[in-house]
Symmetry: C2
Subunit: 138 residues, 2 copies
Amino acid sequence: MERGITEHSTAKPDAAPELKIKLQIYCGKEIAMGPGKADLLEAIAREGSISAAARALGMSYRRAWLLVDTMNRCWSEPLVETGPGSPGRAGAHVTGLGASVIAAFRKMQDRALGLRDAGEWEGLREMLRGSPKQHQKD
Amino acid sequence: MERGITEHSTAKPDAAPELKIKLQIYCGKEIAMGPGKADLLEAIAREGSISAAARALGMSYRRAWLLVDTMNRCWSEPLVETGPGSPGRAGAHVTGLGASVIAAFRKMQDRALGLRDAGEWEGLREMLRGSPKQHQKD
């Protein structure tokens, strides 16, 4: 009885199996663009500063700054420019190149998601369990 | 002069920018199939045991065993079966389902690589530097 209750209460509802597809663009050993950097660029475009973008994404300012620094060193021109902005407020904006890079990257991500419509994935998902079989305790 | 020599000797040759595409199949929070697990399955099929496959991939036996255990718990039937094999030698083989899963996964990976032929990637790679700009030391 207790065992039955325990099993019931800890069993997770079956989730649909998922195919994750991650695109990363490398420049040498550094990642010039990936899912996290694309999200950050969009947040900077929206928020108008690196610090506000970091806050919106729950990321430290230091980490956001490092990601921007890497992007700016990997592409032919900076993707983000910081400026004095209004007095007492350091703003940042996404450059024209930055906007082009985001658009092309998102388009590639969309194309990649098309793999989920392919026959291989249909066949594989049918053979997956809803959740992993648990180890038997004895 | 010394600076020139230093720059020359530490400069890495420009590598072609690379688009990496990683496919991962999730079952709940566990990864049922991904690049590392696919490589391991192929090595087991080739080597005939988990320990020989681990050795061939430079992976610890423990890690290989854990990856096999996860795969076997995520799919409707095991992808790898271990058996007594010949006396004194514990063998392992990839099941029919395991072979189907590898084939479908590799096919999806091949399709994903087709993204490299898309116009977006052509455009992006032209805007990437051969290697990241180094920080200026001062």
